[in-house]
Structures are given as C-alpha cells and as structure tokens.
Amino acid sequence: MHPLNLDGVWKIVAGGVLGAAFGFLIVKSKIAWRKTLMDQLFLKNTRFMRTFLASVAVGTIVFYFFNKWGLVDFHARPTFFWGAVGGGLLAAAGLTLCGQIPSSTIAAIASGRLYALWVLVGMLLAMPVANAFSRWFADSIGKWRDPLNCQPTIESAFPNGGVFWIAGIALAACLFLEFATPDKEEE
C-alpha cells in the first residue's frame, strides 16, 4: 500500500476540497474567532487547547498505523531547535496582539469579520521581510548548537511506544482541562 499522491488537475481539485473542509472546520471549532485564541492565551477558555489535544490524541495513533501500513509518509520540516523556539516566541507575540493565525484570518474574513483584513495585510507585509530575515537568521542564530540534540521525531528519540505516550498524555491533559478549567461558555 502507498499514498494516493494525486497529480496535476486532480491535486488542485483535492487541495480545494480539503481546504473547504478545513475552512468549514475552522469556523465550526471557533478557531476562526479572534476571541477563541485570545481567551486561550488569557487561560479564560481552553477550547483551542482541547481541540488541539483531542486531535493529537487521535491523530498520532491514526498516523502511526497508517504510516506502518504504508498509506502515508512522514511529511514535516526538519527540526531546527532555535528556529522552532524563536519562531514560537515571535508568533506568540503576534498572537497576543491580533489573536489570529493565517488560516483563521482567511476564515474570519470569509465570515464577515473585516477587521481580520488588517491581520492579512500584516502577514503579506511579513513575507518579503521574512525572506531577508531568514537569510540573516541562517547565517547567525542558525549556526548555534542545538542544546537538546533533537531527533527528527519524538518516536526516534523514544522508540518504545513514544507515540502512544504522546497520545496518552494528550488525552490525560484533555481530560484535565475538561474537568479542571471553569470555562464552558460558548460564543
């Protein structure tokens, strides 16, 4: 067994259909709304974190078996410690200000939240700057040593059931948030 790996027009059509499914889901899960991510950062409402952890609890197991059966291949960018940590810091600063990620920005605009257009402008302005900054980053911080000597996947670092540990911890964290956090309010 192997991945379907569509090509040409069919790949474009599949991209559109999957995009529509993700767009639908982003609105249904409320990730499209600025409030959801802002409330997550203020720890007022953990809806985003619960969605993320539930997806991890199920997705890691599904991916593990599909990968084992040859249906899907590993497709994630190579690990670069300082890039991931520094990128997380900058993205967190941005999220604190605007409460939107690229996909939620598009979904918010489609749902009539025109204020997200300013976020889109900021994101488009960042692209040329990111290119220049990435070159500087690669020549300076990119040469720093990885302090944790990270493996490409957690599974390669913990070969004896690492994936099941991730799923188990995500499920436990999900249950903890469900019962320990006071938020259940809907928009």
């Binding site: 379907l4 790996n5 474009i12 599949a14 991209g15 999957l18 995009g19 529509a20 499914a21 767009g23 639908f24 889901l25 982003i26 899960s29 600025r34 409030k35 974190m49 969605t51 993320f52 997806s55 991890v56 599904v62 991916f63 990968n67 497709h75 994630a76 960018r77 190579p78 670069f80 410690f81 520094g86 997380g88 810091l89 900058l90 993205a91 967190a92 604190t96 200000l97 605007c98 409460g99 690229p102 996909s103 598009i106 979904a107 605009i109 489609a110 749902s111 025109l114 300013w118 889109l120 900021g122 994101m123 302005l125 960042a126 692209m127 990270c150 490409p152 996947t153 957690i154 809907e186």
Partner: protein
C-alpha cells in the same frame, strides 16, 4: 444529519475531525499541508503590481492556492449554514470611541499579523503544517507549540498586568483631580 453541519461542534468532535483531515491530506496529497507559498505568491504579486503601477498577469493556481481558496469557501459555507456570518469592522466593543478602536484594530492587526507570519516563517512551516507535524510526532513542531504556548501566556499576562496598572494609575490621577 443536517444538524451536524448547521449545529455547534464540541472541541472534541472538532479535534477528531481535524486529526482525520490531516491524515487524509497526507494520504491524498502526499505533501505537508499549509499555504505559506500562496501567501508568498500574493505578496510578490502585489509587490510586482506596485512596481509596474498596474495589475500584473495573475499567477498560476497550484494545489496550495486552491487550498487557500477552499478555506475561504468552506468558512463562508460554515458561517452561512450556522447563521454565524456577521459583518464586523471592529473585533469587540472595548469602551473606547470608534476612531480610537479603529486605530487600535489597524495597529494591532498589522503588527500582530506581521509577527505571526514572521514567526511561522522562521519556524519553517505554516501553522497547519506545524499542527500536522505535531500529529506525526515531529520534534520541531512540538518545540514550536511549547514555545508558542509558554511565551503566549507570559506575554499576554504581562500585557494584562501593564494594562491594569495603567488603568489603576489613571484612576488614581482622576481621583486626585476630584
């Protein structure tokens, strides 16, 4: 069945559907999901159009651009089906006058969007790409999300404390004035 599309979804249902969609995307496209490239393409297109002072020929559509268009269409469909489509120019009422709110919305929107995209580019993938990476147990994706959550909470708390102190000292001054 119709209620599934028009009703509200719990975070767990959304999480399970996200998980299956990511795996389905990997199976169908055999590629990392995300759309940094269309953003780069739109950005270069705008830059080129400004340079030549007219609209340049539109770039060719690839699967990532179709994905971006699909997100717009899917979100529009979900908002209409769930009666959640609302025309809003400002995020929420915050007690300020409309002009001040508009200024703050523009400033925080542009600055925030800029920082989010810069951070994602440095991390090397789009947000959905990193989410998909987390499901594949990618160490880089997990480092990114750990950093994002940690710094997000620290920065938000710091802003909240500074804002509260600012408003408290402001109240103090107004009290003195009385």
């Amino acid at each position: 069945m119709l209620a599934f599309f028009t009703g509200k979804w719990s975070s767990y249902l959304a999480g399970v559907v996200v998980a299956f969609l990511f795996v389905l995307s990997l199976y169908v496209l055999n590629d990392s999901i995300g759309f940094s490239d269309p953003y780069l393409m739109i950005s270069s297109y705008c830059e080129r159009s400004i340079e030549i002072k007219r609209m340049d020929a539109p770039p060719e559509i690839d699967w990532q651009t179709a994905f971006l268009i699909g997100i717009f269409a899917g979100a529009l469909g979900a908002a209409l089906a769930g009666k959640e489509w609302r025309l809003r120019i400002l995020p929420e009422a915050n007690g300020k006058n409309a002009l001040a709110s508009m200024g703050a919305t523009i400033a925080t929107g542009i600055a925030g969007g800029f920082l989010v995209m810069l951070g994602l580019q440095i991390a090397g993938d789009s947000f959905l790409g990193l989410w998909s990476g987390a499901l594949q147990a990618s160490t880089g994706a997990w480092l990114f999300f750990a950093s994002l959550l940690l710094w997000g909470i620290i920065l938000t708390s710091t802003f909240a404390i500074l804002k509260r102190r600012g408003s408290t000292s402001g109240d103090g001054e107004s009290e003195k004035g009385k």
